[in-house]
Amino acid sequence: MISSIVQLTKTWRGRFILAIVASQLAIPLHYYVRHRDPHDERFAWRMFSPMRMSKCQATWQRDDQPLNLGGEFHEAWLELVERGRFTVIEAMGAELCKRYPGARIRVSLDCTYLDAPAEHYGGYDLCQVPEL
């Protein structure tokens, strides 16, 4: 095995093979050993996983008043919010902070899981603390 790997490093084709195989083993591993967002299963080949069945409800507020996002973002982004995708929620928060300068944009995310207790995320002003 080792000698095969050494031989592979000697040609560009071999190095290409090693890069693809190594990346495809390492990138999904990242989800299991060090993830910030449990809902973000991209690049981890977790099709139809139990996590995919989780449901999240986001409550958005602008200066403590309910904020309807239907007129702010395409509904496809709101679907990703329901899947609890942190990067999307944070980017939406940043966008709202930009659209409403000086406002307090608060988001609370309540998620339920098939195989874990319910979790609560956020609940604070994303313009002050931009990460969930």
């Binding site: 095969s4 031989q7 093979i17 195989v21 495809q24 299991y32 099709m47 139990p50 990703l80």
Partner: protein, 531 residues
């Protein structure tokens, strides 16, 4: 792997991209020919590790796999156009990779790129300039996928990987190759290894109680009126828990055996049945399951594809194809004109412009190749035939699906919700133009026009009433408009219209409420949001 003794019994006919490592043929290697494959015009011993660099398939398998794989990708690209309106909507985007948000596709660039990809995939399916076509398609596909998290299909990420790897597969017919000629490709081996890794991780993700006890699968396989009762059949037989365990075992088994050639007679039917099961479950994953079934073509034993390729009707078709594509500029011109004519009938956005551009570039490339690189004239007619096939596929997908109408409907809907009424009007006008018999376009356009051009708006609403006589919404929109006019006569007409709405759709609570409000004079204008 490196210690495996070379088989030596099937010298590769051609090695279009031979490894550059110097090799010495082992003493045990015999330059004999396989009874199933033709002898090689040139024989190059496979360098080590042979697991990668000695991997061979018959030319018949590679050619048929190419047609199936790229044909499916072409259809999938066209079907994805319906999602174009979400890209760039509201001026917001989050890319798959940090820092690329600003480089994501817009709704126009997404649609144009998918049309272009469909065209390139047809060229690849026909084996035309695959050394250039496949990498260009890989780059375009990767841009669309990595450019926005709106694409949440994991199989699109898989396609990016397969196209990157596939850029190194020798898809074009090697000189003198027949159906039986073995073709050596380390990249095709990597293609299968990529799938094996995918199965491994997919299985690992299912090693949790929530999967093993059947709860996860039970939530995903639901019974719906338009689906066969797969759920009922499973519950009445093996049950969800057993099926879930079977799925896990199957994925692990496929991961372990996909790259083991001797296991292919078992792996191929198991894999195909596994993905057929996914097709039957109707998960919302586009053509992914079909794509996987197509990819299993590379695992089906070579002798089956060789037999198919040598089947007399297929050989006749092949000869016919060679006659057509072997013709010169005149036939090429006729084919190209036919392709452009077909493109003009396609209702997909930007179809005519894209067809003209791509055909122009293709002809230019073919002329340059002929003029400066002494490429045989046959290529020119082949490009014309591929152009005709590509625009023909555009037409088949357009007329055989709702892609074009969905595109304009989604565009109009998202623009309306995001407050861009001018863009919404443009989308609905296009929808009415391409589908004058669809009520949704008339209804939405009518509602939009009521304020600025009431005559046209009412005309569209009445067309919608005529086209969907059992729905109340167009009657109610007209009733609300009339009630807003304030005169007694208009209010009476509004009440009549609202009543017509209740006759059209007796179950509509909204229609009954409107009649009630108009009768009592307590109408408040609600925000109606039909898709």
């Amino acid at each position: 792997m490196a210690k495996r003794s070379p088989r030596g019994k099937r010298p590769p006919a051609t090695s279009p991209s031979p490894p550059s490592a110097p090799t010495t043929p082992p003493a045990s290697q015999k330059p004999a020919t396989s009874p199933k494959m033709t002898p090689a015009p040139t024989v190059a011993p496979a360098p080590s590790p042979k697991f990668w660099f000695g991997f061979e398939v018959s030319w018949a398998k590679l050619a048929i796999g190419r047609v199936v794989l790229f044909g499916l990708l072409a259809a999938d690209a066209l079907l994805a156009i319906r999602h174009a309106p979400r890209y760039g909507a509201g001026g917001f985007n989050v890319a798959q990779l940090a820092g690329l948000d600003g480089l994501g596709p817009t709704h126009a660039s997404y649609a144009i790129t998918q049309l272009g990809l469909a065209y390139l995939f047809v060229l690849a399916a026909c084996g035309i300039a695959t050394r250039y076509v496949v990498p260009i398609a890989a780059a375009g596909y990767a841009w669309l996928y990595f450019g926005s998290q709106l694409d949440s299909y994991q199989h699109h990420y898989l396609v990016v990987m397969l196209l990157v790897i596939g850029s190194a597969i020798p898809w074009q017919r090697p000189a003198g190759a027949t159906a039986r000629t073995p073709v050596r490709s380390w990249a095709l081996r990597l293609f299968l290894v990529q799938l094996a890794i995918l199965y491994l991780w997919a299985a690992i993700s299912k090693m949790t109680p929530a999967w093993l006890d059947g709860r996860t699968l039970a939530m995903q396989i639901v019974t719906a009126p338009d689906r066969m009762n797969l759920r009922g059949a499973i519950d009445a037989t093996i049950g969800m828990a057993t099926l879930s365990k079977l799925v896990l075992v199957t994925e692990l088994g496929l991961a372990a055996t996909l790259c083991w050639k001797r296991a292919w007679p078992i792996v191929a039917p198991v894999g195909v049945l596994f993905h057929l099961g996914i097709v039957l479950s109707k998960f919302d994953i586009g053509l992914f399951a079909w794509l996987m079934i197509g990819i299993y073509g590379f695992v089906v034993p070579d002798r089956i594809w060789i037999a198919l390729a040598e089947w007399p009707p297929i050989r006749v078709l092949g000869r016919l194809g060679r006659v057509i594509t072997g013709a010169g500029w005149i036939v090429a011109g006729v084919l190209v004109l036919g392709a452009l004519g077909l493109a003009m009938l396609v209702r997909l956005p930007y179809a005519t412009g894209m067809a003209t551009l791509i055909v122009g570039v293709s002809i230019g490339a073919a002329y340059s190749a002929q003029r400066f690189a002494a490429t045989p004239q046959a290529r020119v007619a082949k490009i014309g035939a591929a152009a005709l096939l590509a625009t023909g596929l555009w037409g088949v997908v357009d007329r055989g699906s709702d892609v074009a109408t969905d595109y304009y409907r989604f565009w109009g809907g998202s623009s309306r919700r995001l407050g861009d009424l001018a863009s919404a009007e443009r989308a609905y006008r296009e929808l009415v133009a391409i589908a004058p018999d669809e009520p949704v376009g008339h209804f939405q356009l009518g509602r939009l026009l009521l304020d600025k051009d009431p005559v046209a708006g009412l005309a569209h609403l009445r067309t919608a009433q005529h086209l969907e006589p059992s729905r109340a919404r167009a009657y109610l929109a007209e009733a609300r408009y009339l009630a807003k006019q304030g005169t007694a006569a208009a209010k009476a007409q509004a009440l009549d219209k609202a009543r017509e709405g209740t006759f059209a759709e007796p179950s509509s609570s909204e229609a009954r409420a409107l009649v009630d409000q108009l009768t009592k004079g307590t109408l408040a204008t609600p925000a109606q949001d039909d898709p």
